[in-house]
């Protein structure tokens, strides 16, 4: 952390403003919006896995929960401000309960993975089976595998008639991502963030120093879920329909792949990984010669084998090697530890 906080914020703002301005000239804003949303989803797992050391196999559960919460609340309320807030709060509360159950039970590693995976499956199976008319929350039918279409999409707060869609919606999402990114930066610079890093490195030692490890991990987990929930709500607005596939294992797998490819233990890595791979998938979807899944799988295998630290640290290392003196010491050991949950 050689740069000061102010420099960090200014750099982020300048770079992101440039990107937000330039990118629509290269890619259509409709596609770009979803890339930005995926970037936020990647960041949510990047935060709890890369900095909190919590490998969650079910990040898609919070994403889907955010999307469903938004859809159901929007149908019942008919205005989008409160549903957006609920879409952040509900996954966060759900994650806090789930996290408290896991972390106070001292579950780690694989067991954490299994439980998060199982919870995702439960949600998926449950929502999938709610096609019948008896599954209704307020005015909203859950719709089972058909999903929920036709809810109120994002509008200017206080004016349900003024929808935000198309190009303006892209700018809303992009600004939301920048704000979340800055909040994550601030969180990691705060004492909470430093202690979270300590817990990731050595849980026992931090516990012996008097920090309440379980409580801090629970809070971290809930923050990650809140970000994923926000991404889910934005996604619901983008797609204008929510379906159970948001909860699917494939979705969870993709989030993990984004983080690995982008680079764990960095803030920008998961965002780049998410946007880059999602765009690659979009391009590959336009040809039928090679199966899409095959390429995603190959990328994951090759990255785990040959570039386990991901793109962002590798590019940073390359940059330093080419342009003279290292400003920061490369921190190989920390990366490796982070990957083991």
């Amino acid at each position: 952390m050689a740069r000061t906080a102010l420099q960090d914020v200014l750099l982020t703002l300048v770079v992101s403003a440039l990107l937000i301005w330039i990118m629509p000239m290269l890619i259509g804003t409709y596609t770009l919006t979803v890339l930005v949303i995926y970037g936020m989803l990647g960041l949510s797992l990047g935060l709890i896995w890369g900095f909190g050391g919590i490998l969650c196999f079910g990040q898609a559960a919070f994403f889907g929960l955010g999307a469903y919460t938004y859809a159901i609340a929007a149908i019942n309320i008919g205005e989008s401000t409160l549903p957006m807030l609920l879409a952040v709060l509900v996954p966060a509360i759900f994650a806090a309960l789930l996290g408290a159950m896991m972390f106070y039970g001292r579950l780690t590693d694989v067991y954490l993975g299994v439980i998060t995976l199982v919870v995702t499956l439960i949600l998926f199976k449950f929502v999938n089976s709610t096609a019948g008319p008896q599954y209704v929350i307020g005015k909203a039918r859950l719709g089972g595998f058909n999903g929920i279409p036709g809810f109120q999409t994002l509008n200017v707060p206080g004016d349900p008639g003024a929808y935000i869609w198309g190009d303006p919606y892209y700018y809303v999402c992009a600004v939301a991502l920048v704000i979340v990114f800055l909040l994550v930066t601030w969180l990691l610079r705060s004492s909470f963030g430093r202690i979270a890093l300590g817990i990731r490195e050595n849980e026992v030692r931090m516990g012996l120093m008097g920090y309440d490890v379980a409580a801090r991990k629970t809070v971290m987990f809930a923050i990650g879920a809140a970000i994923a929930g926000l991404a889910g709500a934005l996604f619901a607005n983008w797609g204008e329909i929510v379906t159970p596939s948001l909860f699917s294992l494939g979705q969870s797998a993709e989030i993990i792949i984004w983080c690995i490819v982008g680079g764990l233990g960095t803030r920008i890595g998961p965002i780049i990984g998410a946007a880059g791979l999602a765009y690659l998938k979009f391009l590959l979807g336009q040809q039928s010669l090679i199966d899409n899944t095959l390429i995603t799988g190959l990328i994951l295998v090759l990255f785990v084998l040959f570039l386990p630290k991901g793109l962002a640290p590798a590019i940073a290392a390359l940059f330093r090697a080419v342009f003279g003196r290292t400003r920061r010491k490369p921190d190989a050991r920390r990366m490796r530890r982070a990957r083991h949950g």
Partner: protein, 288 residues
């Protein structure tokens, strides 16, 4: 009376299919502490090998019990040499790499067999018990699972190879010092695990419509069963498969199949929360 019989058979079948689904993963995890998330795809490939072989005119039982395990075992061998042996001791990395492999296999299967449902008919006819019709093939699956469990036990307990494998599982450095290469033991173990996955996929193939993504339906259940079972290979497998199978069948008959599945998953969460080391980490310590 008839209903009781049907429920007992269905419950036994549920337990047996869980044992079958999880056996390959349990061998690989129990012996090598490697979680093979491509396990479901190994099963899927077992199914496709069976269907292809039957299509070429091979007897269905030969295809299921001999050809499918051999072919999938060999694929597993290649995978172990190319990918997994570089990642021993890195639990999370192996999970991610095998997850990637599973996607690769799904992609390959889609390119080769197309994204359509294929299947073969069950080779054993059903019969009636009172007013209920029972699928005769369920008994075949129950028998195969029982033979499988006894077989694994016999090999591990009774043969020299089993002794070496158990030794390497407990202290690989000691096994190496005594002149047995852990590398080759792991290779053989992974071959056996993959072959078991192939066998399971092949035996279950007549019951499901096979699509390239079929593996996903198995992996979560197998993963949960194995982790909840804990460190002891056979005791863990049987005890967790029994508890999950019984609970899910009770809820299936009492409410609906969806609740059966959900009950299984909820039980898994409760079990892991109560016994983070798995059932055999707490109850049957030191057993096989």
């Amino acid at each position: 009376m008839d209903l009781t019989f049907v429920i007992i058979v269905e419950t036994l079948y549920a337990v047996a299919s869980l044992v079958l689904i999880s056996a390959g993963l349990a061998v690989v995890f129990g012996m090598m502490k490697v979680i093979n998330l491509a396990h479901g795809e190994f099963m899927m490939m077992g199914g496709y090998v069976t269907i292809t072989a039957v299509g070429l005119g091979v007897n269905v039982f030969v295809a299921m019990l001999v050809i499918a395990p051999l072919v999938v075992g060999l694929i597993g061998l290649v995978v172990e040499r190319l990918v997994i042996r570089h990642l021993y001791g890195r639990l999370v990395d192996t999970m991610l790499a095998t997850w990637g492999l599973s996607l690769v296999f799904i992609g390959l299967a889609t390119m080769i067999f197309g994204n359509t449902t294929t299947g073969i008919s069950t080779p054993i006819t059903g019969f009636a018990v009172g007013n209920y019709q029972i699928n005769g093939y369920n008994f075949f699956i129950i028998v195969v699972s029982i033979v499988l469990v006894i077989g694994i036990y016999a090999v591990l307990r009774g043969t020299r190879a089993g002794l070496i494998a158990r030794g390497a599982m407990q202290r690989s450095d000691m096994a190496a010092a005594l002149g047995y290469s852990p590398d080759r033991i792991y290779m053989a173990t992974f071959f056996c695990g993959s072959a078991l996955s192939g066998l399971a996929g092949a035996v279950l193939a007549p019951l499901v419509g096979l699509v390239p993504t079929s593996g996903g339906a198995y992996i979560a259940k197998a993963f949960i069963t194995v982790i909840a079972g804990g460190p002891a290979l056979i005791a863990g497998l049987v005890s967790s498969a029994t508890s999950f199978g019984v609970v899910s069948q009770v809820f299936t008959f009492a409410i609906s199949p969806v609740f059966g599945e959900v009950a299984l998953l909820v039980l898994a969460v409760i079990l892991l929360r109560a016994m983070p080391q798995g059932i055999t980490g707490r109850l049957f310590k030191g057993k096989l």
